[in-house]
Symmetry: D3
Subunit: 203 residues, 6 copies
């Protein structure tokens, strides 16, 4: 018995330190992610928040992320997830993920989803239970509940933190000068100002 | 109008070729994956086979993969997925994925899942709807339906083809000499031969 | 002499095959790029097209790419370049690069450039000769000639083919249904139709 | 002379900081490894412990690792090494490396080694001096001294810390419930309990 | 309005933390680079030092780097840049970049540049305005002003810190024993000692 | 039995295709390596050529590579190996590996080895049996038999094809004009011509 452990201690000297690196969210991030937490339990690998979100908003939509900041166990592993709930007519408006590709898994309902490639071609499909759809990294896309009941889907990403750039917020929800928005989008100035009003941007 | 297109043609010269690389499954793989298909449609990005699998087998389990060979759109994107169905008492027995980490998303029922780290510590949890659990790359793990009704979960992986090494098949389902199995596992020879009988390995 | 060559032949057995992989543009791409050309000369590593582009268009802008399709020597090396010419008042309108970050090097003139981060904050600067500016991967950005003479800049990218998604083209230059554009952007339908007219999209 | 140094100081401003990153083992790991030690000497790049290990144990085997925790110079470089000594009849029992592939270089003696692929096929060979053998990442493998004298081999890995999951320890050397082991492996419960006794696991 | 922000807060929870990681130069580097600065402004993404360098030295050359230590915004993005000024007859002598490939963009004048591949073949070209040239990672190369006026070029690299090993300094500018230099280069001892005198190495 | 196979066929559908990618040397390389061979045996993972090389040459040295072109099994795995034999006084002269770091494992004899970092500092050590030494990617280094009997060492690399740029061959073994060599190295022209004579370069 002791002899067995003598050998095995050699293997164990490597410890689990190379298997994973659960994020210490209080540590400082580097390009590879958060520093590793020194003591881990099974709960570091479990996330229990994939519940129906509150869709009582103008988009009739709720997105529940399990990115590295909510789910530290994914740190360094190159993936993360999110849950989407859409009421009838609900939509996740045009957006892109600068840091990862997206995989949608339908759970219930009907969603019309689309993305636009660099060459401007449109990839559009109405999805139902049992369908998966890919949205490649950095491309504009949207998801619309096109059915007559609630729709739910799960997302996974090829990144622990895919980011999300929501088009309306990027253009109309900050202090970017209205004339610069107009010039860089060719939208009418009145349209720009109207949506700045909606999204809280300064004029 | 023509003037606009003059500028835009410069942007378009890059085409969508850099956005994605849908697998041409008839091509020859390289370490980075399959060669890219030249003409793609939205259906290359959609997989419609996440249906309940047939669990009428000894493990009362069904696994439906959407890896690159079933879902060519994931080629080069670094992720893939699978659906798991477990009848009451069903199990995906001890196995590991040599080429990717796994993320489990519970859909319905109750699953007791566990993995074992390099330092031999056990990470075990009973999961229900709304739970996610991580299984790091290359580590032995299993999933058991511990509830009293069917259980369903989705898996995603940090690889377009995570592979799967099922322990019983690796040890007992091939022509590896029984004495070598005995010596390399310390199992009793009778146990080895019994399971070789079950899994179809030669003695 | 022969003895020297005897030793050296061992080193040479590796050839230059590991130093670089100039693209054979007639070959089929894989996720890692084009297959390697078998015979190369110095001209495979030289690109001579960084000349002033034709800015006689509505954006008063010209972009001259040296991506892998124009400059096969960058294949597998993880970088590429482009030249930008902007007449007075010229602009490269809002766009993003899904597959790479961008580094701008000012050559002459004055350019007001900006990008918007995932958290919606704006990073805006007026640049002149001697300035460099970074535009991280996948984020919306633009460059406007804000001076009173022509402006020229060079771009380099952290990708052999960064792609480019031009916002107006993505929204208004294809067959994406006007109502879907409206719903996914909250733009007025009249605005959508007006710009579809400008950018050649179908209604 | 001063003029030369004037130019050269520009080159030197980059320092050796980009050439390597010797691990500061007292620092906190991140997914990319340990933080870099600030002052290094040649001894940070030299490891002097590849001596014959003590094989007076039940496996008649000794493994001497030079992973990042023993050899901090490999940090960030993507490789590490180990020395294997096997007495007559000695064995490194069935195990896998979750985080790296292995390359065996025979030094003396005879070793019968094998690995099992994801498709359950067996790759088995008896090796002697002058032979190398590959064991791909995450796959079960073993090495047995099949000669009539001591055997020695060197290992290198495609990781600074490949980890090691020893099958017997993973199944029988911890607190994983015996019935769960039985269910997830199909081993007889008596066999499980017997080996739990040998490897120190709780029942 | 509040309802919109309710949805959007979900997106914003990811913040810009995944878009970039500006270097905190006071932090400790890891293999992936510097830790991320917590508060950033546009000036972190702008570098304003691409001015003509002082070429009053024996090489009639000046190199102005914008590597991560001078330009912290490139941290984690995989690129960096430098400016080269060469007086008539000026030269950047034989050197290599251990950690990145180089792309030269001609701005003015004429430069004769060359690199040597692992198979010993020479790639040589005289470049003028409008030309780009690639120098693959780790290969010896040089740049000589072969025109009759000043020459300026920009460099970009596939690394945030490509390093630079200047051949004369490596051989003659340190305390490497002259006999070891002689033996390892086959240069005459007198030549070695003469250049050690020039470059400040000890004998 | 059939029921077992029913489940297992799902796992097997992934095949061993994701475990490894043995090089088909007749195929065309891409940046990620050679295309994968379709049918493999254990001999694809075994290399049997680590025999003592012929040191009857002016350097009294022999290097026996097991890079991807000699050992196709390493394709895509990120490592390779070589064997070094040095007679008394033998030397591997100054060289660098553009595409990978090197790890030396001493087998017998005494070797004085050194490398020079980007900041011009020298890392020098005399090694004997039981020692390992690291030579980071792209840095000039050499290995000299400094003992009074033959020396043997094994090398492993963090690349399937590290390349090798031998300084004397790069400078003196090709058609690079002698005056360009002189200017770019500051060597005396007579020294350049003398060594061009030795290494077969044209004047």
């Amino acid at each position: 018995m002791l002899q067995i452990l003598f050998l095995l201690s050699l293997f164990l000297s490597t410890s689990h330190a190379s298997d994973f690196c659960v994020a210490d969210l209080k540590g400082v991030k580097s390009p590879s992610g958060y520093p590793c937490k020194s003591h881990v339990t099974v709960d570091d690998f479990v996330f229990s928040g994939f519940k129906a979100g509150n869709t009582s908003n103008v988009f009739k939509a709720a997105l529940t992320p399990a990115f590295v900041d909510e789910f530290p166990g994914v740190n360094g592993l190159g993936f993360s997830a999110a849950r989407l709930d859409l009421d009838v007519g609900g939509i996740i408006p045009m957006h892109s993920h600068p840091s990862g590709s997206e995989l949608l898994i339908m759970v219930s309902g009907h969603i019309t989803a689309g993305f636009i490639a660099s060459d401007n071609s449109v990839f559009l499909k109405t999805l139902s239970k049992g369908d998966l759809m890919i949205f490649p990294q950095g491309l504009l896309h949207f998801q619309l509940n096109s059915g007559n009941r609630k729709a739910t889907a799960f997302f996974t990403y090829s990144s622990t933190n895919p980011g999300a750039q929501l088009l309306d917020l990027a253009l109309f929800g900050n202090n970017l000068d209205s004339v610069l928005v107009q010039k860089s989008t060719l939208l009418d100035l009145a349209q720009v100002k109207k949506l700045k009003g909606v999204f809280g941007g300064s004029y």
